[in-house]
Amino acid sequence: MRVVIAEDLTLLREGLVKLLEDAGDEVVAAVGDGSDLLRAAVTQKPDVAVVDVRLPPTFRDEGLRAAIEARRRVPGLPILVLSQYVEHTYAAELLAAGTEGMGYLLKERVADVGDFVEAVHRVAAGGTAMDPEVVRQLLVRRSGTIAGLSAREREVLGLMAEGRSNAAIGSALFITESAVEKHVRSVFGKLGLAASDEHNRRVLAVLAYLRDEA
């Protein structure tokens, strides 16, 4: 898998390169700012771009803007945005730029190498990866409407919003895949969402539901 990395801190950039190369991916460009990211995205057409939100010269949300711009110039380019802190409004902006192949994670999630690599690959394959912290923020504002769900169903809803597959949810909660499916159907029924068999469409329906004004 061909990856472009945009991260201004050398230590982290080199770390990410090693981590992904260890996982068998090919890092075709590792850049330090937004304009280099755009150039690399256009010339290399990578399978996925991993982008830090805070980049020079402003050190604000430069990376986020660059990622959205890259997605505009290279339609369908899968993007995983990393950030020192997560903000549900940024997640909404990213999803507005494109729902498939979009991820937004706390930078510190790289500590769990396996999970992180899995998230990169999921995004590259057109899936979604939302940080549990973003999902938590979204669930809080929906606390009124999801009060009708059981504790287990709420857990399933949260993991689903992160973009995890039924198998991943099952292993995280130590239940079988068919049990997960049962919970998912129940959640969709209670929230009045149209059921869908296709995994990513289901994730997006959940995210859209959570993002909607309560």
Partner: protein
Amino acid sequence: MAPWRTPDRPTYRAAVQVIRFLTRAFAVATWRELGYLLAGGVTAAIAFGVVVAGTIVGTLCAILIIGLPVLIGVAYAFRAVADVERQRARILYDAPVERLYDEPRRGWIGRLRGLWSDPQTWRDFLWLILLSVIGFAFAVGAATLWGSVLYLLSLPLWWLAVPHSALPDLGNGWTVDTWSRVGFVFAGGVVGLVLTPWICAGLAHGEALLAKALLAPTRRSRLRARVDELTTTRAAAADVQADELRRIERDLHDGAQARLVAVAMELGRARDKLDTDPAAARALVDAAHEETKTALAELRELVSGMYPAILTDRGLDAALSSIAARCPVPVTLDVELGERLPPAVEVAAYFVVAESLTNMAKHSGATSGSVRIRRSRGALEIDVLDDGVGGADASAGSGLAGLRDRVAALDGTLSLSSPRGGPTTLHVEMPCAL
């Protein structure tokens, strides 16, 4: 029906002016002025009594140590009359004269010294003396003028009602005994009715001007009071900052720093066991890994409490939208700001709203709330309301007290109304420019 429009012609406007001039007697202002002057007569009498009695008693007591409390009492008596005088301005202007004295000092002697050295004490005294004279004179003058006007205007009625011989002598045997003289006197009354209000207006506003000159604080004392206030709020701001640094130091010391020590220790032990006991080494590395992740989460929490990153990135409006959306209580947000505010004001506004919403979610039991934030006349106004149970407390030690200090450091004010049973309203005002 066609709407009635004011003809916009100079002659019309001139006519209106003339009519206003002639009918001043029937304007509300006239009666307020008369009321002010007559009330001044009463306070003048009181002031005269207090000044005479106070001066005599004060002079006698000043010789004796035991007279100190009495002297203080005299000073406060002067102050009380001066306060009545400040309030008297409301008859004329709706607002009392501004009041500003030095903070009272401690102890009998200190208190007396404070009173003695406060220039306002002497300015009050001066006004009371002045008032004894002009207040009384003006009141008598106004009463006489109005009495005469009423008398002259009512003379024709008397002429009709009682036999001519009973009419008074208006000087040199000149009595109102013919119709032409009746008309003459009545005309005099009408002229008086037109002029008296203007004379009284002059007296009232002149008196009020003098009163204000002596009773309102001088520029100097205003500045001194401002310096005192700034000294206090600056100290509070420094305290807030010191507390904040202490909290951060403690959080780092007990949190991330301690965890990193543990991580280094576990990794060290793991290295030693790598060859002899790989399984134990692996367990230690696992523990160190977990420890690092916890440290990262703690650091993230700490950093976001120091300065909200979204504020730097996107400004106040976006930052507030984000916290409002994250609040479990549905909150309507109404932000009207225009250009960006100074960073210190933005941060304070952010923390005011963040803390209020946290309190709302934790304690109020509210089902809905609202946040309104806007600029008005160079100030930033924040209103936070909820329909909860009330009982919020802004006394020392609470998060709200910290907010109050933070706001005061920017020369702003915070007021909270939260009766038991609700609703809770919080109002903050801060100057936009620093």
